[in-house]
């Protein structure tokens, strides 16, 4: 009787070990939705009440199961390609005319340049690198796309 119970218990333990590793509970943490829209580029959307995307953040992915990158620099070419794919002209509308469509601001060691389209604003935020001449050297790290007529939750 006891040996049967023991073998049953051992079998159960063996079965449990095949179910896989126990995941720790992450319920106390805020979850963040992210999609890898191009190799190594993460897109994090925010939503309006009606479920439509109201804002997108783009940044480099640094951790991969097979490697780690320590370069958070997102080039303007990478931003442009992702922007074209995620928010095509039919979605973003035409670029607004005049200098008003290109505001730029510098605060602390960050520089932000923006381009205004009819339906969205593309904002590129970068680090300001040291320079001695009459110029600003930037290293973009994040792009933010905001829809003008959608309020985020």
């Amino acid at each position: 009787m006891w040996s049967k119970l023991l073998s049953f218990a051992c079998g159960g333990a063996l079965l449990a070990s095949y179910i896989g590793p126990q995941s720790p509970s992450f319920s106390g943490f805020k979850s963040v939705e992210a999609f890898e829209v191009r190799p190594g580029i993460l897109m994090m959307p925010r939503y309006a009440d009606d479920g439509k995307v109201c804002e997108i953040g783009l940044q480099k992915r640094l951790y991969f199961p097979e490697k780690v990158s320590v370069d958070g620099h997102l080039s303007r070419d990478e931003i442009e390609q992702a922007f074209e794919e995620l928010v095509p002209v039919s979605e973003r509308g035409p670029e607004l005319p005049g200098f008003h469509a290109h505001p730029m601001s510098e605060v602390g060691n960050t520089v932000t340049t923006a381009t205004e389209y009819q339906n969205v604003t593309l904002e590129i935020v970068g680090k300001v690198l040291p320079s001695k001449r009459h110029e600003v050297i930037e290293e973009p790290v994040v792009a933010i796309i905001r829809w003008k007529n959608r309020r985020c939750q």
């Binding site: 303007r76 602390g108 520089v111 932000t112």
Partner: protein, 268 residues
Amino acid sequence: MTSPAATLREQPSSIPHRISGKERDTESGNDYFLARYYSSAMGRFLSPDWSAKQDPVPYARLDNPQTLNLYAYLRNNPLAGVDADGHCPPGQDCSKVQVKVTVEQKPKFTKNVPLKDKDGNVVKGPNGKPVEKDTGIHGKLAGTVTVNGTPAAGVKLTESNAVTTVIDGTNTNPHVREGEGTSPNGQYNDDIGYGFATSGKADNANIIDQLSTEKLTITDTQTLTMAFPSGGTCSATSTRILTNVGSDGNASSHYTLTTTQPVVTPNQ
């Protein structure tokens, strides 16, 4: 809640030296820190900190309540440094830290300032046009971190700038920007400015006209976090304002840049 010191925990292995560089007792699983044993399973020391010099609460500092916990590893902030001998190092005393900020360059209009990438290439807009050249208003601030009046060498600085830009009464897209750097001599510089990418002379005239007639106020509340090589972190908060709104409430082409002096507080 998990103790921050629990981040020192590791899976059992036969390697006798751990992340802390200390020897692990293979029977008990405790780490030998010379003055005391540390339990990686509990995330705390097994005995209270002590001092050869008679002291009711050894290594305590009134400006940091974490120093009152005699069982904690590095004031429950294991990333702040390394515990060399099992006695909590005092860390930087923030009351001896001073941050002074001055306006290094008064705001002035600048035209056609090229925006370049780190390889020196002029940055282009999303469609390859226009070439990003900035015309606008810019000022510069310079800050110095000192400890007992001496520039703080090797201090790691992290800036968090909470920015509001108000144009003719409309608050446009308030945001927070963060960045970090290491200062070899405790000195740092900050720019503050607003402008537009320009396509030429006509744009420049219009941009300067707009920035002279619209009421523009940029308020940057900056929190500077200073991590000292000796361990411990302090914060300093100041507010900088760039504006062309005069005492009469009207806009003009005359911009002022003012800053409050940073108030230094310990990071808990």
